[in-house]
């Protein structure tokens, strides 16, 4: 069924239609919350609250933008509120890095590789968290969530030019912070 039709049915009170919309977007909303909070439980709670808000606000959705864009806007605003209330307290714990069991050498090596990859991601996200909010948001939407420029422009109510320049600045800032850890031309300082 088409998304527009699902939205219309959900607006008419069909839980099945809304369930389909949730199934389609739950991973995206959750991932967005996770990239800001970096805590699975908090991200899950936030994602649930976003869908609750969206459900209650459905009668006010007139289809001027895509449902996904509208949902992202709700998500961003809700996550920002949450972070403000939390005072941007860091929610990073060692539990974020999964534990793996070692049985033989190969498995141990693979586990070590996985841990290294996770540690890299962890470090990059840590640096992203350290960026000023407006840069963090735009970088998360584009480079972590993979939203298109036009969609970001609609979600944040920014002109495409502002999205372009702000994203450029955010990436430059992040690169500057990450430079000592990134892969150089000769492979030095590999992350």
């Amino acid at each position: 069924m088409e998304e527009r039709q699902l939205v219309r049915l959900a607006q008419e009170g069909s839980p099945a239609a809304f369930e389909e919309l949730v199934a389609k977007y739950q991973a995206k909303v959750f991932s967005m919350a996770l990239s800001f909070t970096r805590n699975r439980e908090a991200a899950d709670d936030l994602a649930q609250e976003v869908f609750l808000k969206a459900y209650l606000a459905l009668p006010r959705f007139h289809g001027k933008s895509e449902f996904g864009t509208w949902l992202y806007r709700i998500s961003i605003n809700h996550i920002k509120d949450y972070l403000r209330k939390k005072g941007r307290a860091k929610e990073v714990s060692l539990e974020d890095v999964p534990e793996v069991s070692f049985s033989d050498k190969e498995q141990a090596e693979r586990a070590e590789q996985e841990r290294e990859t996770e540690a890299r991601r962890h470090l990059v996200r840590e640096f992203v968290q350290g960026l000023p909010e407006k840069y963090r948001v735009i970088l998360t939407l584009r480079d972590i969530q993979g939203l298109a420029y036009e969609q970001i422009s609609q979600v944040l109510h920014l002109s495409p030019g502002t999205v372009d320049s702000r994203l450029h600045r955010a990436r430059r800032m992040l690169r500057k912070k990450l430079a000592p850890h990134l892969i150089g031309e000769r492979g030095a300082h590999e992350l």
Partner: protein
């Protein structure tokens, strides 16, 4: 091409937003400029790390946990809506009461109107009766008519006092 422009184009290129001609110019610059080449490698590595693992699955039974919350919210929502409507209705009600009170206060009451004002309100010529009096032939008749007219006057202060 200077290095600042090249950096912008590197990012556009990594986003797949650079046209063929510009891509060619950028490649030329990168071949000649080691620092921009290094920047490109770093950006590529950074974006790969950011994009890696971008989408994660929420905790299990997401919908099963969400559905009861939705039902609960929907049970509360009509009440909340009613309360909000009531709150919004209060100032509207006060304004309406104010308008009604103002209308009552400023509208002249029938009891306060003089006879001629009442006649004017009824769209009747207030001089018609006076005209009849003055058109009477005899002076006695005129006097008598004037006396009776004054007795019929509703406003006490206009009545001739004994």
């Amino acid at each position: 091409m200077n290095c600042n422009k090249a950096e912008k184009w590197v990012l556009r290129s990594l986003d797949g937003r650079l046209d063929g001609r510009s891509e060619g110019l950028l490649r030329e610059h990168l071949e000649a400029c080691p620092s921009c080449r290094k920047a490109e490698t770093e950006y590529r590595s950074m974006l790969a790390l950011l994009r890696d693992g971008g989408e994660a699955a929420p905790l299990p039974r997401f919908w099963e946990r969400l559905e009861p919350r939705l039902r609960e919210e929907m049970e509360i929502a009509p009440l909340v809506f009613w309360e909000r409507s009531c709150l919004r209705a209060i100032p509207v009600f006060l304004v309406l009461v104010g308008i009604a009170a103002g209308a009552l206060f400023f509208t002249p009451q029938a009891a306060e109107l003089s006879q001629s004002e009442a006649l004017l309100l009824e769209n009747v010529d207030p001089f018609s009766e006076t005209g009849q009096i003055f058109s009477a032939d005899k002076a006695d008749t005129r006097n008598m008519m004037l006396i009776f007219a004054s007795l019929e006057e509703k406003t006490p202060d206009r009545r001739p006092m004994p």
